[in-house]
Symmetry: C2
Subunit: 224 residues, 2 copies
């Protein structure tokens, strides 16, 4: 039984790593689409979301199968339950990256963002690209230290997100640009929030302690 | 073993019903806050989100405990796994209702919305209030028919959400009102999406068939 569990669990873990890598690719592709008006990159992210969705379905099926047939306990159970939840988090991150890509594609060959907003968005994308690297790493290595770093670092993205609201209120941009700054900023900020919840699940797998029980309450998404 | 499972499962199911009722209260309170500038209603929603978060934690702990000690299979396992996922969906709905309440409180005693946007937002709130009633009912009665109704009905909310973008582009409102229309519209639309995923989980519990595998791909949240 134990051998089968480990084999099947390895397959799910590989699929989850694969999902994290796909999400990283989607974040980087969405960044290219948004900052360089790369419409092919946008299309690749949009088309690629189907694979991310399919991986989520497959991982959930495998986890339910594992729970039914192998009845894992202790750490093994924690891994299976966390895997279920991580797959949902990654699926949502894929959706958000797709929304960013769709936003970039819609105004092609122009950018949806005014010049004034480009630097802050470039910083947000840069931050998320770095976070995505850490996310892939912490998952592959069950590395709680990197995960804690992702959790603590999110304030920087929230500060950048805050700046986008000031940019959105400028008088010398179009109303559509105001709308796009608000939505695209929100999508990027939510990508960061989801990376934080992924990091919390990794800490939980490694330590058995769930840092999501700290009262963080999604404070970064206040609309003011 | 079976008796204990049923007793413990009943406790989790009660907590989940409780959570759905709290979410319904939060949606209705957020609606009062937004449409009637009821700042007390806003504060109640904001404060009440802590209870929703605590219920999620407790439900997840109970599910993990059930999986470890009772090793459920077949329908029982499906119920436990769906309960885990429903708790996360409801927690997120609580966050979104809180965001709406925070948006209303920020501009008190004025409304964050211009006059022109009030009717569409009133329709969205009305729709969600009705959806919340169905959500509580479908969960308490394991009623797949109501759940399917929630899934099919979501197009109406998406159409209303689409209208908010036109309102947001008007020249005779302030930039801040444009920002608020976009964000508040997004929060309400996401509440609808989460109600749809909750409905899908109920269908899965009842029928074993997961309608989320249909390719819906969160189309309603396109930014154009």
């Amino acid at each position: 039984m134990r051998v089968i569990f480990n084999e099947e669990m390895k397959q799910v873990a590989d699929d989850l790593d694969h999902m994290a890598q796909d999400v990283r690719k989607a974040i980087n592709g969405a960044g290219e689409a948004l900052l360089k008006q790369d419409v092919e990159a946008a299309q690749t992210v949009i088309d690629g979301d189907i694979e991310i969705d399919a991986l989520e379905s497959s991982i959930i099926d495998q986890c339910v199968h594992l729970l039914a047939k192998q009845t894992p306990v202790a750490t093994d159970l924690r891994v299976v339950v966390s895997t279920l939840r991580l797959a949902s988090t990654f699926e949502r991150m894929g959706d958000l990256a797709r929304h960013v890509a769709e936003g970039a594609r819609r105004t092609y060959p122009a950018s949806p963002l005014p010049e004034s907003a480009q630097p802050v968005f470039a910083e947000m994308i840069d931050f998320l690209s770095n976070t995505a690297d850490q996310m892939v790493g912490m998952l592959a290595d069950r590395d709680a230290k990197t995960a804690e770093h992702v959790i603590l670092d999110d304030d920087k993205l929230d500060a950048l997100h805050h700046q986008t609201f000031e940019l959105a209120l400028a008088d010398d941009i179009t109303r559509q640009q105001t709308v796009d700054i608000v939505l695209l900023g929100r999508f990027l900020e939510r990508l960061g929030d989801h990376a934080v919840s992924a990091a919390r699940r990794v800490v939980y797998i490694v330590s058995g302690f769930d840092p999501s029980k700290k009262p963080t309450r999604d404070e970064g998404t206040d609309i003011d």
